[in-house]
Point group: C2
Chain length 183, copies 2
DNA sequence: TAGGGCATGTAACCAGTTACATGATTAC
DNA sequence: GTAATCATGTAACTGGTTACATGCCCTA
């Protein structure tokens, strides 16, 4: 889902700054979606020129002006168009798994570290999913459904890692011992 | 995981053509990794020039020469370097979930289609994971572990979709009825 | 006869990532 | 002191995606 459509979608909740849009996406759907701040600001600026969003600049001390964006009628149209264009793909790209597959070429202990890090990240995301903090999920069935999907898949992943890491780490250690002994 | 490292990794199994490398990745780890043929061929050509891989051209009738690539010693080093460089991230980017979140703006029936398509794709991937066809998984603990992780997460996702799609579709239909009625 | 599998390549484009740039405030 | 939060922006890079290009053989 491209940055523009995602921004427009988030703005259907109500006015928000670029910063807030990014936070909203991270907090609610961080496992599935992502917007980096360096793509969000240009996207909002472009869409503002095109009349898809409007903003009100709010003075702040010591900080840049805060630009509170709001969806326009043509912005809503653009959102619908953007959604229609999207084929609805779902892709996982995992260096984590890539590394595991070739774990025999990794230094000792790396597998443990990788799994620890992955568990920590996934548990964090799981916690976010478990306490839906605000209005967004309350009145939005799609958002609730998505958060549930996130939790289900994360839980399965976490449990799998917890239950199976021991034999993996043992097997890798054994392989590496063999390689050292055999060479 | 970048194309080059992935190719080198697959070649540790034994010689293969670009076409076979792509297939191997798709069949075993398609849920987690991806290589498009238009990035694999240039990558192999580059690495061949750099001495990371060697190939033997095999004549074929009616088809382009088949180039059977083999890992060299420096290719193995490059693989290890590549693996060390990788931070082991795991990212999901899902237009599917993006669309569900904003399902209220989707035409009627689109949610059902999206979920059907997603289920079909995930079930296909699940089947692949369930019958590990060849040697790669047999002697490679990391590969077996990864395939198991894939199956666990896919199963959770599939079950969630099956169990919860009804209330989502009902809620979306209701929302849309309200919008039509209220406008 | 249409589609899929085999088999390799090139070229343009573009979206997202990384890094650069600033700066006050608050909490540990 | 140092990191995090708030808050916005620019610019270069670069890797992957899409589309173009070819062509035989087999199956439904």
């Amino acid at each position: 889902m491209d940055t523009r459509t995602l921004c427009l979608g988030i703005l259907t909740r109500g006015p928000a700054t670029g910063y807030e849009i990014k936070k909203a996406v991270e907090e609610h759907f961080g496992y599935f979606l992502d917007v980096s701040h360096s793509s969000i600001y240009p996207a909002l600026a472009d869409m503002s020129e095109q009349g898809l969003v409007e903003y009100e600049a709010v003075r702040q001390e010591g900080k840049p002006d805060k630009k509170v964006y709001r969806l326009t009628a043509s912005g809503l149209e653009a959102l619908v168009e953007g959604l229609l264009r999207s084929p609805g793909r779902h892709r996982v790209r995992s260096e984590f798994v890539g590394l595991l597959i070739f774990s025999q070429f990794l230094p000792a202990g790396r597998v443990r570290d990788l799994i620890d890090k992955r568990l920590a990240e996934w548990r964090g995301l799981q916690d976010l999913a478990r306490c839906p903090p605000d209005t967004f999920s309350n009145d939005n069935a799609g958002a609730r459904f998505s958060v549930g999907l996130c939790e289900a898949m994360l839980t399965a992943g976490i449990e799998y890692l917890e239950r199976n890491r021991d034999w993996l780490e043992a097997a890798v250690a054994e392989d590496q011992a063999k390689q050292r002994g055999g060479s």
